[in-house]
């Protein structure tokens, strides 16, 4: 098992290396000049040249990527050009390992950007994941148990309509009615735990959390229902029943346990995805999380930020995959041996 995990981590790291290179290459082969973007609209040609040097865009692609990789491992200093650093030592910015780059647009290292935005995204994700897993699985099981009844149809119908609503619509609806008109929840604005305590933090996150959770929850209801129904029709469920086990035990010990495997797979990937930023939700509620950061970086051609975020998200997905695989072994003994 340990050897397996090590192997997976190595493969994961290689994938990250390849990913960073691909993002770099795509970006550089683009007809748009990133230095121009970093410098601003009315930038004189010599300033553009300066920016190009400061960010290292004057170097060949491989060298740039090499510098980036080196920065991740040992850290680096900005501006990228050594002569410029020597000329204006007061402008030099330290970027400690693992340095993901420096954003000229935001005037800070990508690490600092992420450190600022990540807690917001993680907070929203935490609340959203809790809501969608608890209610998604709960309603899914209820629908499966009462299959074909009014309860089932109600749950399935409700989730289907929820599924059909786009996130920005649900978000806007909640802000308009729940927050502004009815005043049940405060008009959202992120409050860190350090400032407002857990209660305030959670209260502020309820609306964005639910907005993000809505679509996922609908999906989980449908999936849980399908997986439970599928495992309820397995032969071993008939065996469990013919032993005389009570209905609850048949459902929870035998059927749900088997339905868990595919759910865990979905769950791992979904969590990684929302941790990397919920673009629409963060935008609707104006939370400066990773999603919003990514959108801004894309709009302003902020290469270092984009590369950094892509790598972060990639790493999250890879880590989630490894965790899911390890979890499999705990859930399914047949995987353990192999």
């Amino acid at each position: 098992m340990v050897a397996y995990i090590i192997r997976r981590v190595i493969v994961g790291l290689l994938m990250l290396v390849a990913m960073s290179f691909i993002v770099f290459a795509l970006f550089m082969k683009n007809p748009v000049d990133p230095a121009q973007f970093s410098c601003g609209k009315n930038c004189p040609p010599e300033r553009i040249e300066e920016t190009r040097q400061a960010l290292g865009y004057d170097q060949p692609l491989l060298v740039q990527w090499g510098n980036f990789a080196k920065g991740v491992v040992v850290g680096r200093e900005y501006p990228a050009d050594e002569a410029m650093r020597e000329a204006n030592p007061e402008l030099v910015t330290e970027c400690a390992a693992p340095c993901l780059g420096y954003s000229q647009q935001l005037q800070m290292t990508v690490n600092e950007e992420i450190a600022e935005a990540a807690p917001i995204s993680i907070s929203i994700a935490l609340v959203a994941v809790t809501i969608w897993v608890v209610f998604g699985v709960l309603f899914g099981v209820i629908a499966a148990v009462f299959k074909g009844s009014l309860v089932d149809r109600g749950v399935v119908g409700a989730t289907l309509s929820l599924y059909a609503f786009p996130t920005f619509f649900v978000g806007a609806l909640l802000i308009n009615f729940v927050a502004i008109k009815w005043g049940i929840f405060p008009a959202p604005g992120y409050v860190p735990i350090a400032e407002g305590g857990v209660g305030e933090w959670l209260l502020q996150l309820m609306l964005p959390g639910f907005t993000l959770a809505a679509v996922y929850m609908a999906g989980y209801v449908r999936m849980t229902r399908a997986f439970v129904l599928e495992s309820m029709s397995e032969d071993y469920i008939r065996t469990a029943k013919s032993k005389g086990l009570k209905g609850g035990k048949v459902l929870f010990k035998h059927a749900l346990r088997a339905a868990l495997t595919p759910l865990v797979t979905m769950f791992g990937l979904d969590v990684a995805a929302v941790l990397g930023g919920a673009i629409i939700t963060e935008d609707v509620f104006n939370y400066y999380g990773l999603g919003k950061l990514a959108v801004t970086a894309n709009e302003t051609y902020d290469l270092p930020t984009i590369v950094g975020l892509v790598l972060l998200l990639g790493a999250l997905v890879i880590i989630a995959n490894i965790i899911v695989d390890v979890l499999y072994a705990f859930i399914d003994p047949r995987v353990r041996v192999a």
């Binding site: 032969d235 071993y236 065996t239 029943k241 013919s242 032993k243 005389g244 009570k246």
Partner: protein, 361 residues
């Protein structure tokens, strides 16, 4: 019926057989109409005896046995008739009462032991569970009992194998474990639904031997469902041949195998390969397919596939369902066929084909 846990002991043996199924009907209501999976099944079985139920897939064998287990409760199945087990009508008891009887009075083992065991729990866990649900014992006691049962069914090193998962067992061992699970509460009726179909031939014989051994020890009644007449010949005291949800021939095993009087049974016998026959000899399959249970033929359900309709004459086979009537050989042998001289037809036409050496005598 206040103290459910004592019902098997306190219920006095009534008149009639230990298990008596009367006119059992299991119908499924579907959007296309009513599927009559089992349509009027009647049989009896004593403790220590074995009934073999034979028939093609879809003939209603498994549906009928699931009805005895009460496994159709909570589905869209419509059941009627009577299933008297030790004087109690299993179709009339409450769901909770039926649940308590399941696994304790009536146990079942299934065709494919790999899919019939939960892949995520150890064999021991699953056997213990069957014991604990009906007995108020500690985990440790249940475990001891599970190991005891595994040893009884011939699993080597049961104290170690008890912690194995089903996939770590071989097919034969899994079926042994299933039998241990089925018999752990000492049930008075064991239903074996094609217990050897998924096993290879050498293991099949071992499992059948084991079942017979255990039957002697536990004095259980066994219903063995199979489409293998070899299994029936080896195990059964009585045989019930099913076709399209109905019994078409029923009687003592020896009678059915030596003097069958229903063309469908003849077809089953003709389809059995004979080890001693020459390689030139052809197996004679029954032509056609089993009828739809949604729109069964109006007369004899076997009529569309029967080669002997001409012997009856007229439209009788096509229009009128024959009753289950006593066969020529007498005794308890009954058959559902219009042919008057079925015994002679068998002697003259069928026997020479399937066992020519018997005819020469």
């Amino acid at each position: 019926m206040t103290d459910l846990s004592k019902t098997p002991e306190t219920t006095p043996a009534r008149d009639g057989a230990f298990l008596s199924v009367q006119d059992l009907k299991v119908h499924f209501s579907t959007s296309d109409g009513i599927v009559k999976a089992t349509d009027g099944l009647t049989f009896e079985l004593e403790r220590g005896k074995t009934l073999g139920i034979v028939g093609e897939s879809g003939s209603g064998k498994s549906v009928s046995s699931s009805a005895i287990m009460g496994l159709h409760r909570g589905t869209n199945a419509i059941l009627s008739g009577q299933i008297m087990l030790d004087g109690v009508d299993l179709l009339k008891v409450s769901n909770e009462d039926m649940r308590r009887r399941r696994g304790r009075d009536v146990a079942m083992i299934f065709q494919d032991p790999l899919s019939a065991m939960h892949p995520y729990y150890t064999v021991g866990n699953q056997i213990m569970e069957a014991y604990q649900v009906h007995n108020d014992v500690s985990k440790k006691e249940a475990r001891t009992r599970a190991i005891e049962m595994l040893e009884r069914v011939g699993i080597p090193q049961p104290d170690r194998r008890v912690d194995d998962y089903p996939h770590q067992f071989s097919g034969g061992m899994r079926q042994r474990a299933m039998i241990a699970m089925g018999l752990i509460n000492n049930p008075s009726l064991l239903i074996a639904d094609e217990p050897t179909t998924a096993l290879d031939v050498t293991v099949q014989a071992q499992i059948l031997d084991l079942l017979q051994d255990l039957q002697r020890d536990f004095d259980a009644a066994i219903i063995i469902i199979t489409h293998d007449l070899g299994v029936v010949a080896e195990m059964a005291d009585d045989v019930l041949v099913m076709y399209a949800g109905r019994a078409v021939e029923y009687g003592p095993c020896k009678e059915i195998l030596t003097n069958p009087e229903m063309p469908y049974t003849w077809g089953l016998l003709s389809s059995v390969p004979d080890l001693t026959a020459s390689t030139e000899a052809k197996l004679i399959p029954i032509r056609g397919n089993p009828p739809s249970l949604l729109n069964p033929p109006p007369g004899c359900a076997f009529e569309p596939r029967c080669d002997h309709v001409a012997k009856v004459g007229g439209d009788l086979c096509r229009t009128t369902l024959p009753d289950l009537t006593p066969a020529h050989s007498g005794g308890n042998h009954t058959k559902r066929c219009h042919i008057k001289n079925a015994d002679e037809v068998y002697e003259a036409e069928i026997l020479p084909e399937i066992a020519p050496d018997l005819v020469e005598d």
